[in-house]
Symmetry: C2
Subunit: 191 residues, 2 copies
Amino acid sequence: MTTITARERLINAAIEAFAEKGFAGTTTRDIASRAGMSPAAVYVHHDSKESLLFTVSLNGHRSALEVITSAAASSSEPVQRLRAMVYDFSLWHADHSRVGRIVQYEYHALTDEHRAEVATYRRSIEKAMQDALADGVDQGALDVDDVPGTAFSLLSLGVDLVRWFEPGGSRSGHELASLHADLAVRMTRPT
Amino acid sequence: MTTITARERLINAAIEAFAEKGFAGTTTRDIASRAGMSPAAVYVHHDSKESLLFTVSLNGHRSALEVITSAAASSSEPVQRLRAMVYDFSLWHADHSRVGRIVQYEYHALTDEHRAEVATYRRSIEKAMQDALADGVDQGALDVDDVPGTAFSLLSLGVDLVRWFEPGGSRSGHELASLHADLAVRMTRPT
DNA sequence: TACCGCCCTAAGCGCTTGCTTAGCATGCAA
DNA sequence: TTGCATGCTAAGCAAGCGCTTAGGGCGGTA
C-alpha cells in the first residue's frame, strides 16, 4: 500500500498552486490549505517556499531527462529513435503539463545555486537530442543543416505544450505527440 | 522630434518589469521607480496594475497580428508566403521578446473581459497560418497532413523564442527566423 | 499680483506576505 | 505514572502590497 506523507501532500499542493498562479502569485497559505493543513505546517516539512519550488523543479527535470534518455536508448535506427524521442518528450509535457509549466516558467524564480543545479539537466536533454540528430546524419539516414538549432526546435514543440495544454481538450497528448513525431521526421528527411 | 509622455514611460517601465519578474512578482513601486517617478504617479496615468498589463498585452497582440498578416499578403506563391510568415513571426518574437513574454505568459493574469478581448487576436493569428497552409495544399504546392496542428506547431517555434531569447546571445533573431523558415518548408514539402 | 489647470508627490490606509515562536495532543518506552 | 519525541497549530511579527488622499510646485493668462 502507498502512503502519502505530509511532505508529499504539500509538494502536490505546491504543484497545483504554482502551475495555476505562478510562483510569485502563490501564497504559502494557499499551499497549506490545498494540503489541508495550517499555514505553519509548510515550514515543518520544508525550509521555504523557494525550496518547495526547487523540489518540484528538480524532480521534473530528472523525470524529463529520464524520459528522453530511455527513448534514445530504445532503438539504434536513427528515424525510429528520433520518432521515439520526440514522441515521448512531447507526451511527457502533455501528461505532466503542470509540472512542466513550473519547470519552464518558474526557472528564473529559483535561487542562483538551485538554478545552476537544474541547468545541468537542461543541457543533458539538449545534448541527447543533438546526439541523436548528429548520429542520424553520420549514418546517412537523416538530413539536417543545423543540428543544434533543429534539436532545439524539436524540443520547443514539446515544451510549448505546457503553455496551453489541458487534459480533456480537443486533442489528446498522444495525438499531439504523434503530430510532433511526424513533423520531426519531415524536418530531417533526406531529399 | 518624438516626445515620450509620462504615460508611455510608465508603459515601457512596466514592460521591463513584467518581462523580468512576471506580473505577480512586479510591484507598482518598481514600475514607478523604473520610470523615475513616485509610486503614486502610476495611478495618475493608469487605472491599475492590471490595466497596465492589458495595455501592454493588447499592443503586443495587435503588433504580432499585423506582422503575420502583412507577411501573408507579401506573396501569393505558397512556399514563399509560408517562409515569409514563419520568418517574420519568429523574428518578431526575437525582436520583441520582452513584450512577447508578457503576451504569452501573463495571458492568465488579465481579467476575464480583457482576456476575452485579446483572445480574438490570437484566433486571427492562428487562422492566418492555417489559411496559408490550406491554400498551399489546394494549389498543390504544399503537403500537409494536419493543417491546424502543423499551423500551431509553426507558431510554437516562434512563440517559444520568448522563453529564452536574449539580444546579444549566440544566435541572432535573423538566424533563428531563417532556421524556422527552413524547417517550415521541410515540414510541408511534398515527397 | 492673482488665479487657474496640469503633473506630480508625501504620507499613509487596510490588508497580505513569508516566516517564527511557543505550545498542545498523541503515542510509545520505561 | 512519568518522560520524551513527533507532528501539528494558534497567534503574531516585521515588512511589503495595491491603491488613495490631500496638497505642493510651476508655467501660462490676465
